[in-house]
Amino acid sequence: MKWTAFTFAAFAVLGQVGVATAKPPRRALEISVQSGYGHVWGKNGDRSHELESRNGGASVAVGIAYRTPYLFVPWVEAGWATLQWSRETPKAREFSSEAPSTSSLATAYLLLGPSVEEGVFRFRAGIGLYHQQVTSTFAGQTITPASWDMGYYLAYGVRVHDGPRFGWGVEAMGLLMSESQLTYLGIALRFWGNAWAEPRH
């Protein structure tokens, strides 16, 4: 709750900057890049053999949105996020003499959905595909299995600077990988440029 309240408050403050500087176009084809950092929640299984671990990590994404003066703005986004990394001692007795395993989990994603823009604030919801990628080294071998999952996306953000051609803002995002039962929550910086724009009159 505190985390949510903090982000809302921070975005409200940043939003005042956005309100003061906003000169957004009436319609635009917006291309954005964003980079952020997040934390993962979900089923983690047995962690009793863990020597060290990192939860969450960086995320990057590129997206396209078609901004209109109407309620919904459709968007498409492709991205990648680091989810987890850890070193664990061997769990099975037959491999007890082996060196600790090193494993990581990341996801690539392709999402689309509508967003609602109210002033400088934007709320996004989406649905799409997550490609979970594992890399693990143990007992002298490295494996890289992967699986496809369906999932959802939620985000709310604020446009700090929203000009006729460029802008930037901050977004709190959530990757809801429903099949994997994992949730990545993070904060990201967004930069966008308008490939095409119909200015406001």
Binding site: M1, T4, D46, P90, S136, F138, I143
Partner: protein, 430 residues
């Protein structure tokens, strides 16, 4: 940590992500049964012998508390346990039985409803006292036999009356083989352990089965394991990195990265066969090998454990299941396999072509009564898969008259098959 209120907001919007919403602690799911405090009265009792436990078997009817289990109850024993199987929503109860110092014979355990997994504690005493004493001594009791006690919900103390009276003894064996799917039940059935685990193999008999079916996949380094899907995923496993095709994992990585849904190890086929041979009294094991590589990896183990079972005097048949044309063709390409039994899931022509003794058609083809009768007349065994609904179980038992049924509800199939056999016996008797 994600606060509960924020989690609710996230969860309401991503409504199918409920498991991630609830499990913020990183723990594995659990599916335990309620247990009596301090072990209950059983902790102070002398465990009932297998011979004595069999004296409790029979067809029973409730005189009180019939809403729990249903109306026609089958009581059957298995090593170390006594189970009651009813027909109300596939409900069953599993007990440990023991003789107390004061002469009472107590059964303590839990009930579970298979279709919605509600559960609770149950405690019953054998009455009258002289019958209880006789059974504890391993002697047959001629008079009426009742079980009287109470049951509860969840971990609550049993406070609702339950009383059963035995109507008759069971037949020597049920007319229909009860083959428990995935080793005992599916993980989603919450019957006490994950599917395809060593733990569920040990439980299968007390769930009503005398035979089981397990699924075999192969790792990248050729180790056959028990696992149903072709890919590891959160439906059947726990483990952050347990994702991706089974064939992409080495056995070492399986042990390191994957546990089954309720925390058990993913078993090797070798360990599973050892468990069945050495720790159970199951009489049949159907290996659903998913790939020709799995079949080839399984065959040496099947031979090894068939021999071990024979050496121990165990009455056990291990059968390799051929579920696809690819597997049938791979089987036909093998030489020197007369010592291994097989089962064909595809058509009758493949059954005859392979020379397999068992035909396992899927139930959605219908009872096929005349075809089943013809196949049985040729000396084959027929077992349909996979039947869970009572009305369909009855339909197949009465119309198709198969030798066996593969099911996620072994107790229900056992109960329905006994009732059908008793009904047939009644119709046969003038």
């Amino acid at each position: 940590m994600l606060s509960s209120r924020t989690a609710v907001v996230v969860c309401l919007v991503g409504s199918v992500n409920l498991p991630a919403c609830g499990l913020v602690t990183g723990s594995t799911e659990s599916v335990g049964h309620p247990r009596f405090e301090n072990g209950g009265l059983i902790a102070e009792a002398t465990p009932l012998s297998q011979v004595s436990a069999r004296l409790l078997e029979g067809l029973w009817e409730p005189t009180a508390g019939g809403s729990l289990l249903g109306s026609s109850l089958v009581v059957q024993s298995s090593p170390g346990y006594v189970s009651i199987f009813g027909d109300r929503d596939a409900t069953y109860a599993v007990f440990e039985a023991g003789c107390l110092d004061d002469g009472r014979l107590v059964l303590e355990g839990y009930h579970r409803t298979a279709i919605d997994t509600s559960t609770g504690l149950v405690r019953l005493f054998v009455e009258p006292a002289d019958a209880a004493q006789a059974i504890c001594d391993g002697k047959v009791s001629d008079g009426p036999l009742t079980l009287e006690g109470s049951f509860g919900n969840g971990s609550g103390v049993p406070d609702q009356t339950l009383a059963l009276v035995r109507q008759r003894l069971l037949l020597a064996a049920p007319a229909t083989m009860v083959i428990a799917h995935r080793g005992g039940c599916r993980s989603s059935d919450d019957c006490g352990a994950s599917e395809n685990s060593l733990e569920i193999l040990r439980m299968a008999q007390r769930l009503g089965a005398d035979r089981i079916e397990v699924d075999v996949q192969v790792t990248s380094d050729g180790v056959p394991i028990l696992y149903h899907d072709s890919s590891f995923g959160p439906l059947l496993t726990s483990g952050r990195y347990c994702r991706g095709a089974v064939s992409d994992f080495t056995w070492a990585h399986v042990t390191q990265l994957c546990k089954l849904r309720y925390g058990e190890w993913v078993p090797r086929l070798d360990d599973a066969l050892r468990t069945v041979v050495e720790e159970t009294e199951l009489v049949g094991l159907w290996l659903d090998v998913k790939t020709p590589a799995g079949m080839n990896a399984a065959l040496p183990l099947v031979r090894k454990w068939n021999q071990s079972a024979a050496d121990r005097g165990r009455n056990l048949r291990i059968v390799v299941g051929l579920s696809t044309e690819e597997l049938v063709n791979a089987w036909l390409g093998l030489t020197d396999i007369d010592d291994v039994e097989c089962l064909v899931e595809t058509g009758v022509s493949e059954l005859r072509q392979t020379g397999c003794r068992i035909w396992g058609p899927r139930w959605t083809l219908g009872p096929m009564a005349s075809t089943v009768a013809q196949i049985q007349a040729e000396g084959h065994t027929v077992a349909f898969w996979t039947l869970d609904e009572e009305q369909f179980i009855d339909l197949f038992i009465h119309q198709a008259k198969p030798n066996g049924l593969l099911t996620n509800r072994p107790g229900l199939v056992l109960q329905r098959s006994y009732l059908a056999a008793i009904q047939a016996e009644g119709e046969a008797t003038p």
